[in-house]
Symmetry: C2
Subunit: 199 residues, 2 copies
């Protein structure tokens, strides 16, 4: 199996994390997240969105979108629950992640820490800051009195939302304002089999 | 069952469509998409994102995110396939929809047709136009030679992506540039049990 990967990407980390938890071997093809000019050549016909992660399965089929890949490898394992409503809630948090968390926190982090261009994006960063803080406040309220996002166990929803939330300070967000989020980040990082972003 | 709904929203339409296909009765609570000041009072404790659709189930539990609701009511029906890879691909297209289609096409439509403020948003519309056309081009290429987004049957992926794609012209997108998308829109609208946006 071959993962078109960026070691810098939280979306790619999700895939590396679930594959590590499931003990599945794969090779990595490192893809440039700054110069995207070779994307059509590299990912055309594999992923309509031309993004990483893109996974090539052993039979040559492809699968894309980090949260769809999490579901594919999580379903049937302890990381996706059996109860239909809990399963739907795992998906609810993964859609929340792609709509509320990723476009705000991941993009702010990309501009500020990966590109190092905070000044260039100062106007756009204002709306990212508002959206990201709204998402973090929603998460913090939900995690009040809860150990995990869904039910009473660590699931692929926690993997998904952790991916960029634990990097929020690289996007100038202050996690000190969100104590429930910060405690949950520590719980996720302590799960047996956790892999860090740079592993 | 009670749906916190906006009749104008493509995301809410997805829920109305799957409930109609499954023959499930529900009541609607119409929520204002212009004046959002009552959202905390109306949706607090029900949906962390304070958005519609939010569904209150018969037992008083809540479920949010349109695509998670599609999965909840689609799984176990002909609208979600059985094969694990096809299931993951249905999710792939639904994540593509929330990341690529909705933030571009739905937002452009909201500014231009619902708010009637094309001139006010002229700068932001330029990036929405680029992102929306990129999504439509990816869809059009994928639908070349395919009847449906995943496998050989109509699924909740088609419901999800149709929701805003069929409204693209209300966001100033020219579907005439995307003949495969246009033919697929006609196929979705001809599915037995299809409900229009304003039904």
């Amino acid at each position: 199996m071959r993962l078109y990967n960026s070691q810098l990407s939280g979306n790619c980390w999700k895939v590396r994390q679930i594959l590590a938890l499931r003990g599945i071997d794969y090779e990595r093809v490192e893809v440039d997240v700054f110069d995207r000019s070779n994307r059509p050549e590299l990912l055309g016909g594999k992923n309509p969105a031309l993004r990483v992660p893109t996974l090539e399965l052993d039979d040559g089929e492809h699968l894309a979108e980090s949260n769809a890949i999490l579901w594919y490898f999580g379903d049937g394992s302890p990381y996706v629950p059996d109860d239909p409503l809990e399963r739907a809630r795992v998906l609810q948090w993964m859609f929340f992640e792609q709509y509320e968390v990723e476009p705000s926190i991941a993009v702010a982090r990309f501009w500020i820490t990966l590109l190092g261009e905070r000044d260039r994006y100062v106007a756009e960063l204002e709306s990212k800051r508002r959206a990201g803080n709204r998402a973090l406040a929603a998460l913090d309220a939900h995690l009040d009195g809860r150990e995990w996002l869904v039910g009473d166990a660590f699931t692929v929803a926690d993997i998904s939302v952790y991916a960029y939330t634990h990097l929020a300070e690289e996007g100038d967000f202050d996690l000190g304002e969100y104590p429930n989020v910060r405690a949950w980040i520590e719980r996720v990082a302590a799960v047996p089999g956790h892999v860090p972003l740079d592993a």
